[in-house]
């Protein structure tokens, strides 16, 4: 009944309190502290992010410096097993690279590709969604039909297609230089539809609200209204998709690298590491593929859990 919702606690920040107080008072912060799983996944995500960021400082070895590598160190199992070497906590691979260090460095690449492609998809998707929703008519039809068509292909297929075209155009040597950009482009382009659809839906709701009419009344240009008025009010769901997409983008990158169309083995990402290790799985050197695999799983899972929580926290119906 109507009174029940009216009586529900409303934000009462009457005296404009400081930022910390506002954050404490915030409903999202509250729901965050109330969910232990979310807190754990946030801590794990943060730890992984930091260790990737500071990999050069914390990694025990530099796996990309050939001078420090010795073929004599190859195929050491993890340190706690009988034949392990205390220098290599998680063992070494066929070239004598420390697995722990390659994971730390690999995560950097995975995360960088993930963040960049999500950002790219977000910019493209949000812009097209805003245009489609706010302008409507032919613009809307064209954008949304393209989106519909794209949705009929699996994302990985589109990524493979773009990757293949880029490879063909650039040639094998120069491809090495642009591989990062191609990955971002191919993963990003396969994700934009979701943003566009969500944003378009929210814009359709927002654009008929009276605050938008008030802005039209004083003769603001459509683009100004879209960016200054409508966009801030549709960003909530975008943030949710972006978080969930980050996990997906990391996995997609890993899949591409696993299939051999991603980053080269000289600059391995988590996916590349899993692929390399996969060759040795049946000869008994399980640690080469298992540890990068576990890292990837934990990373994707914790980011995903964060995204789930964010979706629930921003959804007023579930609060």
């Amino acid at each position: 009944m109507s009174d029940a919702t009216e009586a529900a606690p409303v934000e009462t920040a009457a005296r404009a309190p400081g930022l910390v107080a506002r954050l404490r008072d915030n409903d999202i912060w509250f729901s965050f502290t109330r969910s232990p799983i979310t807190v754990i996944s946030a801590v794990v995500t943060l730890l992984l992010l930091l260790s990737a960021l500071f990999a050069p400082l914390i990694a025990p070895h530099d796996p990309f410096d050939p001078a420090t590598l010795s073929i004599m160190d190859s195929f050491f199992p993890p340190a706690w097993t009988g034949e392990g070497d205390p220098r290599f906590l998680l063992g070494t691979d066929d070239q004598g690279r420390d697995i722990l260090s390659t994971i730390l460095y690999g995560m950097r690449i995975s995360l960088a590709v993930g963040f960049a492609s999500v950002l790219f998809a977000m910019v493209v998707g949000v812009t097209l969604g805003l245009l489609a929703g706010y302008l409507g008519g032919v613009v809307d039809s064209v954008i949304m039909r393209i989106a519909d068509v794209q949705l009929t292909f699996p994302a990985i297929l589109i990524a493979l297609l773009i990757d293949g075209v880029a490879r063909g155009v650039a040639g094998p040597n120069s491809y090495q230089d642009i591989v990062f950009g191609v990955l971002v482009l191919s993963i990003g382009l396969s994700f934009w539809v979701q943003y566009a659809r969500t944003v378009r839906g929210s814009v359709l709701v927002e654009k008929n609200k009276e605050y938008v009419l008030a802005a039209r009344l004083i003769g603001l240009r459509p683009w100004t209204i879209m960016v200054k008025h409508v966009l801030p009010n549709v960003l909530g769901p975008v943030l949710v998709i972006a978080t969930i997409n980050l996990a997906l983008a990391i996995i997609t990158e890993a899949t591409l690298s696993f299939l051999g169309v991603g980053v080269p083995p000289t600059q391995p990402s988590l996916g590349t590491l899993i692929r390399i290790g996969n060759d040795f799985l049946f000869s008994g050197e399980w640690w080469i593929t298992i540890f990068p695999g576990i890292t990837l799983a934990i990373l994707a899972l914790s980011v995903n859990l964060l995204g789930d929580w964010l979706r629930d926290a921003l959804n007023p119906k579930l609060r």
Binding site: D3, A4, A7, V10
Partner: protein, 349 residues
């Protein structure tokens, strides 16, 4: 005579992380058999929550934290859900603001009516259908026999609300709770629905609790009116007295603020300064004291009980005969027709 509904010291609480909000605080009232009691108040005053509390459908986490609710002498506030469901359909009928929420869009009107009738009465399918048709005729739906097989969306807003009234009355309830039954309707249709509700409940001797923010609707429909403010009783009494001679400063301000079709249109509307406090920020003492012209020290410290005030009861210290307000306040209040100094002879009956 046992009242149809008797509410005593009802308290409804909503626990939130910023503390427990008292949505209804110490509210008592009765509805006599056949009586129409109007519940008025501004949004957030707790009128709808009172209705939900009575029918046991408070939205969680809201809960009845104290007091008693009796239907024809029987306590219903702590019945198990199964029994309460039976009470709701059979003994208390409900009418909500939006008729579409009460009607299932996927079923024909006739099916919904006969289903309700059969749940509460031992009738053959044919007899139930006949009764459904009679009900539709009674609420003024033309060609009732044909309309039984229509779907809700084929009815206009006013006709839908008529169907909802028929549905609410299908099991001959003792009490009908109507929550803003005319708010979603056009003025011209609203009048029809009010007249219908009044007539049909009078015919059956059902009591009505009419919840609305529209004093005009109350004035025309109710016998008595209960005015709520911030979840508490402000004033309760016969409708004419509350409208013409309100005894609580809030009721007085409210009545004066309503634009009317009578009176001088050029005169400025009376206004109450400020707005009703949020439930989390109700001031100590009388909830109305910061907006009240007659507030004195006691009002800021102590919560007033409902005192007899002329023909009504008002929760205001101006009417405390044993401990009268300061003479200056009482003097000012009596100038505008409020307070203990009023001679009983002045009270119209």
């Amino acid at each position: 005579m046992t009242p149809t509904l008797s509410v005593r010291n009802l308290r409804v609480e909503i626990p939130t992380r910023r503390g427990v909000l008292r949505a209804i605080d110490d509210l008592s009232f009765d509805i006599a058999p056949g009586e129409v009691l109007g519940m008025v108040g501004e949004s957030g005053a707790g009128k709808s929550i009172t209705g939900s509390a009575i029918i046991g459908l408070l939205e969680p986490p809201g809960r009845v934290a104290g007091g008693e609710i009796r239907l024809a002498g029987e306590r219903i506030d702590h019945l198990p859900p199964e029994r309460m469901r039976h009470v709701r359909g059979k003994r208390i009928g409900m009418i909500f603001q939006d008729p579409l929420t009460s009607l299932n869009p996927l079923y024909r009107i006739g099916e919904q009516l006969t289903e309700t009738i059969l749940t509460h009465e031992q009738l053959s399918g044919r007899a139930a259908r006949d009764k459904a048709q009679r009900l539709l005729e009674e609420v003024g739906i033309p060609a009732a026999a044909e309309r039984l097989s229509a779907y809700p969306h084929q009815f206009s807003g006013g006709m839908r609300q008529r169907v909802v009234i028929a549905l609410a009355l299908a099991a001959d309830p003792q009490l009908v709770i109507a929550d803003e039954p005319t708010t979603a309707l056009d003025v011209s249709v609203q009048a029809q629905i009010i007249a219908l509700l009044k007539r049909i409940c009078a015919d059956r001797g059902a009591s009505v609790m009419l919840i609305t923010h529209d004093m005009g609707v109350i004035a025309e429909t109710a016998d008595r009116v209960c005015v709520l403010y911030a979840g508490r009783l402000a004033e309760i009494g016969p409708v004419r007295d509350v409208v013409k001679h309100p005894q609580h400063p809030y009721t007085r301000g409210l009545m004066a603020a309503i634009p009317s079709l009578a009176g001088d249109p050029d005169e400025k509307l009376a206004q109450i300064p400020g707005s009703m406090p949020r439930l989390g920020a109700i001031p100590p003492g009388c909830a109305f004291n910061p907006r009240c012209d007659f507030a004195f020290d006691r009002c800021r410290a102590e919560r007033p009980d409902a005192y007899p005030a002329g023909a009504t009861q008002a929760a205001c210290f101006l009417h405390d005969a044993k401990n009268p307000p300061p003479p200056e306040i009482a003097g000012r209040a009596s100038e505008v027709g409020l307070g203990v100094t009023r001679a009983p002879a002045e009270v119209p009956q």
